[in-house]
């Protein structure tokens, strides 16, 4: 006979483990069934062990030291590593040898190992401080890679509850045959469950030789549920809540945290006993969970002797919410009601400010997971990609990676970073910097940062950069600035040393001077190099300026790629005329001045395109300026073709007569014997 012992990493456990004092203890998994008569004596022993300072501890010191004789901590911990479905929990079997040897332990040692032993042990009450201290450190060591949604104490909580529940149940004596049948049925049922519920079924290690598993029942795919909670200003039980104003807070979720059904299958299941189970729901109050438990009981009662787990799972999945009246709206709480004594109901619900964020964050995670898994269509390019190829912005709008990259690149090359926001119309949501970093790459991101800085500084109107050390300086009146870093005093227009009273050197003059100096033999090599660079820069500027104009306000070189002559500087927003480079306020400039709104090439282009016949007509108009008349309708000059007096105006598409200059509606009527002659010379 051997007993089992298990530890808990934190929190409370109420755990009664039968153990035989004379047994062999060693660290290894066990698969024997415990015997119940052992229980009471063990329990007593256990509870006494809680208080090492009490006198009774001494009498049990012997036994106690048995506990302490364990393999060193390091060995043990690997077993504790990750609490996934199939990881073994440490089991301890007492070694009879140890019993005798351990009595020689010094008191110090035993105290030290006492704390270790305490941590490992099963207790009725707990000394929380010491325990949690030790446990916490243990927890840190082995706490990696936890994937389960439930907190770790929940896992052990469940197990301890199951243990507790199991002990209340008395298994009838069954024949070998019956036990075998049951065993087979259980095996089959578990297989079936695995195939139906797939990854939501976790087969856990046997507890005391009994099959042990849990099923996660995900309440999702049912559209949206509204979750409501009443927020009272006082959650005290004593306060009469009716006198207080109830605020209720509601929010919608698509995915509720799952119901966890954990079962332990006794040997006499399914022939005589139902599975021992706990239902654990993070957000439901235990009273409600208790309701669910009772419902499971009645399902079993309806068909005792048959496998029931599938029915249970299906009921929980499809009907549990409506049974609680939660199918449209789920109520959290009631928080002021005490827990019922139903040991099968495990609730994680604490208070609104814990539960609400928990539900919301679970929902967000699940939604995000679902998003990543499924296909979506990008609203910019209309192609379909998996969710993983999308970028979702904080404003919840999502676009495919390629489109976002193109979009960012276009704005980066044009320098219009102020427009680099969410592409969604009228959203204007910000693109977070880390997203930009991924989209633009490191270099691009640096350039973005530089541009941002520049723009911000430029929006502060008087900032200029020192030509020598590049630090931003504030401009004084009269286009002068002095650098605070290197004390260089310079002219802000030409960025040379300050020249009071003298005009700035034009780039051409400067270029010529520099080019001359290149030939001089008096210059040192690095001086020559520097001036060569300046020459190159001036030459590039010249080249740029061939096709571009400078904004009259901020001097940014702007090259027009399309459109009319009314330009908007993207840098500072100033309107200016591309033809004469003066700052303007609107279209009036093109009406009264010498500048045309549309450049000649553009007009010619259109006119060709709008109407090929028009081009011909226009040519005619050019060729025969004397043989034409302005159209009575739109005053456009049209030349007559050959001798034909019937003119078709290329501008307004109207027909009119060269001779009488009137609009011709029906040519057969107009040019009859009584009317104008259609063909005349001249």
């Amino acid at each position: 006979m051997s007993g089992t012992r298990r530890g808990s990493r934190q929190g409370q456990y109420r755990h009664h483990v039968p153990r035989d004092a004379d047994e062999t203890w060693s660290v290894k998994p066990l698969h024997d069934t415990p015997q119940q008569p052992q229980l009471d004596s063990e329990q007593q022993e256990e509870s006494n062990l809680d208080c090492p300072s009490s006198s009774s501890a001494n009498s049990h010191q012997q036994k106690f030291s048995d506990f302490t004789q364990r393999p060193p901590k390091t060995h043990r911990n690997p077993n504790w590593k990750s609490r996934r479905g199939r990881v073994a929990r440490p089991r301890f079997v007492k070694k009879s040898e140890l019993t005798s040897s351990k009595s020689e332990l010094s008191s110090e040692d035993s105290k030290a190992s006492l704390s270790v032993g305490v941590a490992e042990e099963v207790k009725g009450e707990q000394e929380e401080n010491k325990e949690s201290e030790v446990l916490e450190s243990k927890g840190e060591e082995s706490g990696d890679g936890i994937e389960e949604d439930e907190p770790q104490d929940g896992v052990d909580d469940v197990i301890s509850r199951l243990e507790e529940l199991r002990l209340r149940v008395e298994e009838p004596e069954l024949s070998e045959e019956q036990l075998r049948i049951n065993d087979q049925l259980q095996e089959d049922e578990l297989l079936a469950m695995e195939s139906i519920y797939g990854e939501n079924v976790f087969i856990l290690d046997r507890e005391m030789g009994l099959r042990h598993f849990k099923i996660l029942i995900h309440l999702e795919g049912i559209g949206e549920t509204i979750v409501t909670t009443k927020l009272n200003s006082a959650n005290d039980v004593g306060v009469n809540s009716e006198t207080l104003d109830d605020f209720s807070y509601s929010f919608k979720v698509q995915n509720l945290p799952p119901i966890v059904l954990t079962c332990l299958l006794p040997r006499s299941y399914p022939s005589h006993l139902p599975p021992i189970f706990t239902i654990s729901v993070q957000w439901l109050h235990s009273a409600r969970i208790s309701d669910l438990c009772s419902q499971l009981d009645s399902i079993w009662k309806e068909q005792e002797g048959q496998e029931v787990i599938y029915q249970w799972a299906e009921w929980l999945l499809n009907f549990s919410l409506s049974y609680l009246g939660f199918d449209k709206e789920a109520m959290l709480g009631p928080y002021d009601m005490e827990n019922t004594g139903d040991r099968r109901a495990i609730s994680g619900s604490v208070s609104p400010d814990v539960d609400v964020p928990f539900i919301k964050s679970y929902n967000d995670e699940k939604c995000h997971e679902n998003f990543l898994k499924s296909l979506h269509e990008c609203s910019i390019c209309y192609s379909e990609y998996a969710g993983t190829d999308f970028i979702r912005l904080p404003c919840q709008h999502f676009f495919c990676w390629k489109c976002m990259k193109t979009y960012s690149d276009i704005h980066m090359t044009e320098g219009t970073i102020s427009k680099l926001q969410c592409p969604e119309a009228k959203c204007g949501g910000m693109v977070p910097p880390f997203v930009l970093k991924r989209l633009l790459g490191d270099e691009g991101y640096e350039r973005w940062e530089t541009l941002m800085l520049q723009k911000t500084l430029e929006s502060m109107s008087d900032v200029v950069y020192c030509p020598r050390c590049e630090t931003p300086c504030i401009e004084d009146e009269d286009e002068h600035a002095q650098c605070s870093n290197c004390f260089f005093s310079f002219c802000t227009l030409c960025r040379e040393r300050r020249h009071v009273g003298i005009a700035c050197m034009t780039p051409d003059v400067k270029l010529r001077i520099l080019q001359e100096r290149q030939k001089s033999s008096q210059l040192k090599p690095d001086q020559i190099r520097r001036e060569k660079e300046m020459i190159n820069e001036l030459l590039s500027m010249k080249e740029i300026m061939r096709d571009a104009q400078q904004c009259p306000s901020c001097k940014m070189a702007i090259s027009r790629t399309e459109g009319c002559n009314k330009m908007v500087c993207q840098n500072c927003g100033q309107y200016f005329c591309y033809r004469c480079n003066s700052a303007i306020s609107g279209y009036e400039h093109f009406r009264d001045g010498t500048c045309e709104l549309f450049p000649q090439e553009m007009r010619a282009d259109w006119e060709e395109r709008i109407n090929a016949r028009q081009a011909v007509a226009q040519v005619y108009a050019e060729l025969f300026p004397d043989h034409g008349q302005p159209c009575p309708n739109c005053r456009q000059y049209n030349a007559k073709v050959g001798k034909n007096n019937h003119i078709f105006c290329w501008s307004c598409q109207m027909h009119y007569c060269y001779l009488c200059k009137k609009i011709v509606r029906r040519s057969s009527q107009h040019y009859g014997p009584k009317g104008c002659k259609q063909h005349t010379v001249g």
Binding site: S379, C381, P423, Y587, W606, I610, Q653, S668, Y671
Partner: protein, 183 residues
């Protein structure tokens, strides 16, 4: 760009499906004509215009260019060329907008609520501000003259009237009689 060609195709298809008459200019899906009706609650009601749409290379990241082929009297449309100021479109443009959007939302809005602060057609803007009724009257006149459905069907009609004319040329060979002097 090759991948946005799907975008262009979809936009064009959506436009055609929404009952707009679209004429392609070439097969490159860069430019085409669309027939546009004046919005119902405006003085432009009843007018039909032929609009030239040009999609730039960077479409949909850059807005298309819009031009009215037949004349329209509007503060933000140049009377002679029919061009709509690019800036007006560009300022509100987003890659999410498509062509249907332009014709269903943007253009009707532009016609219903001209922007007089920076007008291409100063005279129209001034008239609108000074005397709304006269402005509406003028708009209607222009619609009558230039934006009748017949006007935009002139492309095929031209040829037929041409034929007529040439026929007549051959027929009326007896112009021995001196032509009447022009008034």
């Amino acid at each position: 760009m090759s991948s946005p060609s799907k975008r262009r195709e979809m936009d064009l298809m959506k436009l055609m499906i929404s009952d707009y008459k679209v004429e392609m200019i070439n097969d490159g899906m860069q430019e085409f004509y669309v027939h546009f009706n004046g919005p119902n609650d405006s003085p432009y009601h009843g007018g039909v215009w032929r609009i030239r749409v040009e999609l730039p290379d960077a479409y949909p990241y850059k807005s298309p260019s819009i031009g009215f082929i037949n004349k329209i009297y509007h503060p933000n449309v140049d009377e002679m060329s029919g061009s709509v100021c690019l800036d007006v479109i560009n300022q509100t443009w987003s890659p999410m907008f498509d062509l249907v959007n332009v014709f269903e939302v943007f253009l009707p809005q532009l016609l219903l609520y001209p922007n007089p602060s920076d007008p291409l057609n100063g005279e129209a803007a001034a008239l609108m501000m000074r005397d709304r009724n006269a402005y509406e009257q003028r708009v209607k006149e222009y619609c009558e003259k230039y934006a009748k459905p017949a006007d935009i069907e002139t492309a095929p009609e031209e040829h037929s009237s041409d034929d007529e004319m040439s026929d007549e040329e051959y027929d009326s060979s007896d112009d021995a009689i001196a032509g009447q002097a022009d008034p």
